[in-house]
Symmetry: C2
Subunit: 168 residues, 2 copies
């Protein structure tokens, strides 16, 4: 079975969750997720006023898949990395910031939320989460490995895309 | 074999290429591509001053893959679609705009290029390309089908991700 690269237990889990909670308060965003680059939700928080969240596991897998493809695009253009990603829809948007080579920060916000503020506090939260997740890395070697997709991850992402797109 | 959904020949090809050429002149961007959502380059243009382009076929596949995952994210959040996508690197950036359910417009630009101008003229070019590609659709039914990934496409995207990430 595919396993997350980061094991967030006990104090590290509480600490990471508090960072997300504070980020929600600072930005008035709906949901904040700390996501393993393999597509696992490590911890997440919802604003008190927010409606029940959408399928966060699916969002985590798609965001991780997108981040890997975007990194490949950056490599092709000889860029070290691309900056944060913002997708803005009619009513909601998603902001994705790199925490480090193992994790991503995802913030889902309403159309009225202040994007500049989300970026500013998002980057600060990502720096805090970088410190917390590095201490919780499962495999010390993983920190040094390049970001990659393993076969199991891709198979599970493919299966989910099948579901989402209703393909046979 | 997987085939593009759009066959751009003769006049339609020339017309689409002229739209890209004009877009490069208007925006001072480096490269402009019209890409099938299955990942094929339909036509592309380079600015006269631009260095030889990176692997445009790989860029097309990754952009198409990203667009499909982004559409899945939009569906999960009950958004009709997300607006255009901009990835900004240290030296270069990528702008992706939806042409229609079959094609994407991709613009690669230098860090000094005016993003607002690229978005403005990019949207106008996308509207022109929408008209041109709709006339060149291979399968009349394709226009009505939902955006999807077929198995062959995913297999070829997986194989390329393997190459790019150096996985076995």
């Amino acid at each position: 079975m595919i396993e997350p690269s980061i094991a967030l237990f006990g104090e590290a889990f509480e600490e990471a969750s508090r960072v997300l909670e504070r980020l929600l308060e600072e930005t008035q965003a709906r949901y904040a997720l700390l996501v393993d680059r393999k597509g696992f939700v490590l911890t997440h928080r919802e604003a008190l006023w927010a409606p029940p969240p959408p399928a966060l596991d699916s969002i985590a897998t798609l965001v991780a898949s997108n981040a890997a493809a975007t990194q490949a695009l950056a490599d092709l253009l000889s860029e070290d990395r691309f900056s944060e990603i913002v997708h803005q829809g009619k009513d909601q948007g998603i902001y994705v910031e790199q925490v480090n080579e193992l994790a991503l920060l995802v913030v889902i916000f309403d159309k009225d939320a202040p994007i500049g503020r989300i970026k500013l506090y998002g980057k600060r939260a990502a720096a805090l989460l970088d410190r917390i997740t590095k201490k919780a890395t499962v495999d010390a070697g993983a920190r040094k490995r390049n970001i990659g997709l393993d076969r199991e991850y891709r198979d599970s992402a493919s299966a989910m895309l099948d579901d989402l797109f209703g393909e046979a």
